[in-house]
């Protein structure tokens, strides 16, 4: 099913996942993509020069891995089923993003690159990349839509504090899609000494596979922890899906596609009995408004159609003509019109079940987890938490807490008041 002329062995190493994936990038970038593919195969898959050992040591000592698997006692009691939380909110930077950013910046160092560029939407990936660059002493330039710069000030501050340059992108709606385009342009201009640290399991091969492998340390740990703490594999794993990096991070070891040398024995065998649920942003409603070129959601897995965007063939929110539409979600990190090609494939295969919850349900879940478990989730994560309301299995069920919600406080307070969200506390303490 490969779309590549040069497909090697029919396995995923050719950069395709069934009909999806590939390398749809300008020729000027292709040599870099090939060089990266080679580096990925040697350093990441092959642990050449002990790269993976180095990565594992650094993500542990700098990043704070392993992150715990917490039993959510109050939610478990309420739902009558054991709920566990995989705590990527405790990773350095406050989200799973560092797994990938640290892996890629370190790889760039091994490759002899001298400069990093990255795109960011909500600022989480940009922050993680800036952190990794400060730590590994690499110059770093982040592209971020002007709209996002203005509404995600704290993350912009953090990137600047880590000495990254932040370039506001003013074209279009000034959000993530435009930031990716602009980063690709920078890469095309400075491709010889620059590595583009893409922020999710999207983009041309080897990015979707490589980002998955770095992120799959989540599910690798999760399997070990489930064995030690629960004594069995979970019945289901639930993760939100924007681009899908935390998603494949949480699913990778169960699917069996992820591969990072040095994983504990038995943590990567395919486990088809574990249900994998990808929760997308339902926004305010599903569907695409063709005339406006707008989707009031980001549910590309559930409702998107096959197409080519940002280097890969995957499921997209697009018009009939193939123009990419503006997506929408209350959560900036899910607000993207595409999704990782591997997830698109796993959905087609029936291995991953795509579901979605709308903005209001996500806001309610944000408050529920904060109130009941003492954990303030990212708005992205809140979508996964919200799905518990619909989960009908026997458990145990694990929710991947992809990040913490400190970055979302202003949005949540504003939106909760505007929409009169159930369970939102009043902030009357400020009234004087």
């Amino acid at each position: 099913m490969s779309t590549q002329d040069e497909a090697t062995d029919g396995t995923q190493r050719d950069g395709t996942f069934g009909d999806y994936g590939g390398q749809y990038v300008p020729e000027v970038l292709m040599p870099a993509v090939e060089e990266l593919t080679d580096a990925y195969e040697r350093y990441v898959l092959g642990n050449e020069d002990g790269f993976v050992d180095d990565f594992r040591a650094r993500i542990r000592e700098f990043g704070g891995r392993p992150t715990p698997l917490s039993h959510a006692e109050n939610l478990s009691a309420q739902y009558g089923t054991d709920v566990y939380l995989k705590r990527e909110d405790l990773l350095h930077g406050g989200a799973h993003k560092l797994n990938n950013a640290l892996g890629q910046v370190l790889l760039a160092k091994y490759m002899g690159k001298e400069r990093i560029v990255a795109e960011t939407g909500a600022g989480q990936h940009g922050t993680a990349t800036a952190m990794a660059c400060a730590y590994l002493d690499m110059p770093c330039e982040i592209y971020m839509g002007r709209t996002d710069v203005n509404r995600q000030r704290p993350n912009v501050f953090r990137m600047r504090l880590h000495d990254a340059d932040v370039n506001p992108v003013t074209v279009g709606s000034g959000t993530l899609k435009e930031a990716i385009n602009e980063t690709m342009r920078d890469w095309a201009t400075n491709v010889e000494d620059t590595h583009y640290v893409i922020g999710s399991i999207v983009g041309p091969h080897p990015f979707p596979s490589m980002v998955r492998d770095f992120q799959a340390i989540i599910s690798e740990e999760l399997r070990e922890q489930a064995r030690d703490q629960i004594g069995r594999l979970p019945e289901a794993v639930v993760a939100c899906a924007g681009g899908g990096s935390n998603t494949m991070g949480a699913f990778g070891a169960f699917v069996g596609s992820a591969s990072l040398p040095g994983h504990p024995e038995g943590t990567h065998e395919p486990a088809p009995e574990v249900d994998l649920l990808a929760v997308e942003a339902g926004g305010s409603s599903l569907g695409v408004d063709e005339d406006e070129g707008y989707a009031p959601n980001s549910a590309s897995l559930s409702t998107g159609t096959e197409g080519v965007l940002h280097g890969a063939r995957t499921k997209l929110l697009q018009t009939d003509d193939g123009q990419i539409v503006e997506s929408h979600s209350v959560s900036a990190g899910l607000d993207y019109a595409g999704v990782g090609p591997e997830l698109a494939h796993l959905v087609d295969e029936g291995r991953v079940q795509p579901v979605n919850v709308d903005d209001d349900a996500a806001l309610e879940a944000f408050h529920r987890l904060s109130r009941e478990e003492g954990i303030i989730p990212a708005l992205e994560t809140s979508h996964a938490v919200a799905y518990l309301e619909h989960y009908e299995g026997d458990g145990p069920v694990v929710v991947n807490v992809s990040g913490r919600g400190d970055k979302d406080l202003d949005t949540v307070i504003e939106e909760s008041a505007a929409k009169d969200i159930d369970g939102a506390p009043t902030m009357e303490v400020f009234e004087e």
């Binding site: 779309t3 020729e27 000027v28 292709m30 074209v171 095309a188 197409g307 280097g311």
Partner: protein, 284 residues
């Protein structure tokens, strides 16, 4: 206009456009700022000496373009440009040079009932398109489109970048038909004042290639066109420099005819420069 049987008979009309003199390949974005204006602009460019029209079909995510063409694409999309409108426009165009469709792969892929390039290539051939330049479709992913083009007798032009390796170059030269698009510098499209130092090298390594070689990315003046041809190019590709004129005209609200005059003048300067660049000994 183009006719499928030309191509299948041997050299395509696109390749033939480079036969006599260094060719001027001129790009504008279709529908910027309106389909009617584009019609006039294309005519003017041809009157100015254009040998191949590269007509952009606007895509919402133009990753290979610099700011100038990004903005042109936005103006065109806002004005209602779609693949159907594009094909109608091409059909209406009354010029006697080949027209190349420059667009991104997703538009080609989505067109029609079934996913895949087949239907769009058929429709494009029908409307009079001679070939394609698809900047986000490297040779590695080009199988299905190349196949459809072959079937309909259209050319598929690949872009050779300064970074392209020898191994990749060989594969691309195997596949490319019509002409070779030589990307004169790193980065994206956009008018520059100088010819890149890389251009002579880029051309040097194509010395043994039969297909005509046209250099693009950054050319905006007759002098640059002359230099590039002097370095061994068979043609020059110009886009952003025209689009700047279109943008200024749109901004100032100038009548279409005035803008067309300026485009014609620039095309003339470029063509003259290109011709002047032909090295004396070979140019008799």
């Amino acid at each position: 206009m183009s006719d499928a049987s030309d191509a299948t008979r041997g050299r395509s009309d696109l390749a033939a456009a480079f036969d006599d003199e260094p060719a001027l390949v001129s790009y504008v974005a279709a529908g910027d700022p309106s389909p009617a204006a584009t019609e006039r602009y294309v005519e003017a460019l041809v009157e100015g000496g254009t040998d191949v029209v590269e007509l952009g079909l606007p895509f919402s995510e133009p990753v290979a373009e610099g700011t100038t063409i990004q903005n042109a694409i936005k103006r065109a999309l806002d004005a209602g440009m779609t693949p159907d409108v594009y094909l109608d426009l091409v059909d209406r165009l009354d010029v006697d040079v080949p027209i190349v469709c420059m667009t991104y792969y997703n538009l080609i892929y989505q067109f029609g009932e079934e996913p895949g390039p087949e239907e769009f290539v058929a429709a494009a051939a029908e409307a009079g398109i001679s070939g394609f330049v698809v900047p986000d479709l490297p040779v590695d992913e080009s199988g299905p489109l190349a196949e459809a083009c072959r079937e309909h007798g259209l050319d598929l032009v690949f872009i050779v970048a300064p970074t392209t390796t020898e191994e990749r170059l060989e594969r691309m030269l195997d596949r490319t038909t019509g002409f070779v698009y030589v990307q004169g510098r790193l980065g994206t499209t956009g008018a520059r004042d100088e010819v890149s130092d890389d251009t002579p090298d880029a051309l040097a390594r194509l010395r043994d290639t039969d297909a005509p070689k046209a250099v693009g990315f950054g050319i905006s003046s007759g002098e640059q066109a002359r230099e590039v041809v002097a370095s061994g190019a068979d043609g020059v590709i110009v886009g952003s420099a025209y689009v700047d004129i279109v943008a200024e005209g749109a901004e100032a609200g100038d009548p279409t005819s005035e803008v067309a005059d300026r485009l014609r003048a620039l095309a003339d300067e470029l063509k003259t420069g290109a011709v002047a660049g032909v090295p004396e000994p070979e140019h008799k």
